[in-house]
């Protein structure tokens, strides 16, 4: 699997930034000032980052209730996101959407929906719109394993294949819908990536916690879509490290074991990328260079930069006004 070291570094830092933002939100969430259900992406960052790396600003992504990583990876404004979580007027949805309805039209992250599978056909429609207008843009639908139980998933794939649309279906299979394991919901649990085959949509299973793998597979899918050769389905196996909704762990519920979470925690996409980078850099170091030390320094510097950015965003959100009656009644039509 070929990936440039510089690219890998970029992806690594992007994931690190998203992780730091998420962890800070999790800390602040306890203050009870962000009043909206929040689904954390911690552990699943590689999928959003690996896919977005191949998208241009004018390409569009659509996501689900667990969309912080997708919003940030596509270039959504951090201040507006934090303000949205704090229910402020300055939020990306003017305080009307909250964590589940993040949107950054200018960055091309169009919408997250709290209805499972809800944005899949909308991404397909956007792709049709691009095609009808003769634009070489690509649409991506992110969704979870449970969305593959919705009829609209199959309806959308059929249509996308029928019209050969420039859309990529990206399933983040984290094996759970809330507390329900995939084995309780799907007759066959190992073939999500094959489910487009009946429509002649090529499917790939990808190690979702390996950002290189996501990056490489997406590169092919985007190229194919842009050349007018139709849709691709990617199933990225990954894992949510926190509870379904909220900032805590959930071992006490008993639906999954601490060992299972720990095993996946060891496969953390950020650790994976860091280890890989250090492995590559140690090769150089053996040759007499000092890259590995410089890299450690760079991580520390980046962390300080991210921290400052996060605190500024939190400050911005807290200082922002709450929406008022005018915001309540405008934009219905």
């Amino acid at each position: 699997m070929q990936i440039l070291e510089s690219t890998l570094k970029k992806l690594y830092f992007e994931m690190l930034r998203i992780r730091m933002i998420s962890e800070r939100i999790a800390e602040l969430y306890a203050e009870q000032e962000m009043k909206c259900p929040t689904h954390f992406s911690i552990g699943q960052e590689a999928v959003a980052v690996g896919v977005a790396a191949h998208l241009k600003k004018e390409d569009w992504t659509f996501a689900s209730h667990r969309s912080h990583a997708h919003y940030l990876a596509k270039g959504g404004d951090l201040k507006e996101m934090i303000a949205e979580l704090y229910n402020r007027k300055t939020g990306c949805a003017k305080g009307r959407g909250g964590s589940q309805h993040l949107t950054a039209p200018d960055a091309g992250m169009i919408a997250a929906s709290a209805i499972v599978g809800g944005t899949i056909p909308i991404a397909v429609g956007a792709a049709m719109g691009f095609k009808m207008r003769g634009e070489k843009r690509v649409a991506v639908a992110f969704f979870g394993d449970a969305a593959c139980e919705e009829g609209v998933f199959y309806e959308s794939m059929n249509f996308a294949a029928l019209k050969k649309l420039p859309v990529i279906f990206v399933c983040e299979n984290n094996f759970y819908a809330a507390q329900s394991h995939i084995s309780a919901r799907q007759a066959i649990t190992t073939n999500i990536y094959l489910r487009g085959e009946i429509f002649s949509i090529p499917g790939f299973r990808v190690k979702g916690n390996d950002v290189r793998a996501v990056y490489s597979q997406t590169e092919k899918a985007v190229k194919k879509a842009r050349m007018g050769e139709g849709p691709t389905l990617m199933e990225c196996e990954t894992y949510r490290l926190l509870e379904h909704v909220g900032p805590n762990d959930d071992f006490s519920l008993g639906y999954r074991t601490e060992e299972e979470v720990e095993t996946w925690g060891d496969q953390c996409p950020i650790k994976n990328a860091e280890n890989l980078l250090k492995q590559i850099l140690s090769e150089y170091t053996r040759k007499g260079a000092k890259e590995i030390f410089m890299f450690d320094d760079k991580i520390e510097i980046k962390k300080i930069i991210f921290q400052r950015e996060i605190e500024e965003a939190v400050e911005f959100a807290k200082q922002s006004l709450l929406p008022d009656e005018k915001d309540l009644i405008s934009d219905v039509y």
């Binding site: 899949i120 056909p121 429609g125 207008r133 309806e155 959308s156 059929n158």
Partner: protein, 347 residues
């Protein structure tokens, strides 16, 4: 003066809207087949071809979402359904997504889609082929609901719906398809949210929607012979609803009958009644009467349909009651003929 059929008026609106805006396209089950959804889409297909008028899989929910996505990407989709009942398969995309798009995502983007569906009554079409579900859609913030009762409005309101930036549910009534009326040849728009006084009168206000406008008109003619002068208001759009035209009339007549093609319970008739009760109570000389469908699914047998559907007779009886006039429940002297009995399609 040129008179054209309701179905031709819809067809003409589609063709002209597509001529003046290349972003407009039509998709739906059977829109490109030779019948062209009762003649409404055939002309557009002939003129613009399969790139802009195309068939869709029977995947109502996904196709609606696809319409939303295309609209976000800058297109103006018109989605066509031969029966409103089929929209029940697309309610997630209509209610959870299209209706809320602008508001929920902060107002930056619109989802300008028109969902045209045909409603109907009678001729044994039964529970799943002849519902009128406009109240259900009107209940949802963010949707507009349009119900033209004649050829002029069919064209003018459809053009307005296509040009509007909100999602619009456009409900055409099957029994009108062959009815003719004056329609201008040019592209024109009839405003959404404005009702129309169909007939002037001082004694009783009849607020009606869709096919009940015709029943109200027939009733008004019969009432005139009995010395009762009814004012008939055609709502034209259920949402936004023209409150002013209703209230002004009720304040004048002091009596209100609301005639709707849907069910009484939680329906448009109830909404209009509540509006009058809240805002014109002191003007009311008698209780409000709703003439709408009972809380019963649509039956198939014509013997049952005859009892089930409301019409001009029921409106006449309601008006007599409000006026304390002679005749009461007497129906024998009322012969209206029936749109249904002469109905020969389209099905």
């Amino acid at each position: 003066m040129r008179v054209v059929k309701y179905s031709e008026a819809i067809s003409e609106a589609l063709v002209q809207a597509m001529e003046c805006d290349e972003k407009v396209f039509i998709m739906g089950e059977g829109v490109d087949d030779p019948k062209g959804v009762f003649g409404t889409t055939a002309e557009a297909y002939k003129k613009f071809g399969g790139d802009r008028v195309f068939d869709t899989p029977l995947s109502e929910n996904a196709v609606t979402g696809i319409g939303i996505g295309a609209a976000l990407a800058g297109m103006r989709p018109v989605m066509v359904h031969a029966r409103v009942d089929f929209l029940m398969l697309a309610m997630d995309q209509i209610i959870n997504h299209a209706a809320k798009w602008k508001y929920m995502y902060g107002g930056a983007m619109n989802a300008p889609i028109v969902i045209m569906a045909i409603i109907g009554k009678g001729w044994g079409q039964g529970s799943q082929h002849s519902q009128a579900l406009h109240s259900l859609f009107a209940h949802i913030p963010g949707l507009k609901v349009v119900m033209p009762s004649n050829s002029y409005d069919a064209k003018g309101l459809l053009i307005s719906s296509i040009q509007d930036d909100s999602p619009v549910i456009f409900l055409a009534h099957r029994s009108f398809f062959d009815q003719r009326a004056y329609v201008p040849e040019n592209l024109f728009s009839a405003p959404l949210g404005e009702g129309e006084i169909y007939r002037w009168g001082n004694d009783v206000t009849i607020v009606a929607a869709s096919a009940m406008v015709w029943e109200a008109r027939k009733a008004a003619l019969a009432l005139k012979k009995e010395g009762i002068f009814a004012e008939v208001i055609d709502l034209r759009t259920i949402k936004p609803i023209d409150e002013e035209i209703i209230l002004n009339s009720v304040k004048k007549t002091g009596r209100l009958i609301v005639a709707d093609v849907g069910h009484t319970i939680c329906g448009v008739a109830s909404e209009v009644s509540a509006l009058a009760a809240e805002q014109a109570f002191e003007y009311l000389k008698a209780p409000i009467i709703r003439v709408a469908l009972a809380d019963i699914p649509t039956p198939t047998s014509y013997a049952l349909e005859e009892i089930y559907y409301k019409g001009a007779k029921d409106i006449v009886i309601a008006a007599r009651k409000l006026m304390g006039a002679k005749g009461g429940d007497e129906k024998n002297n009322l012969e209206f003929g029936s749109l249904d009995r002469d109905f020969r399609g389209p099905f």
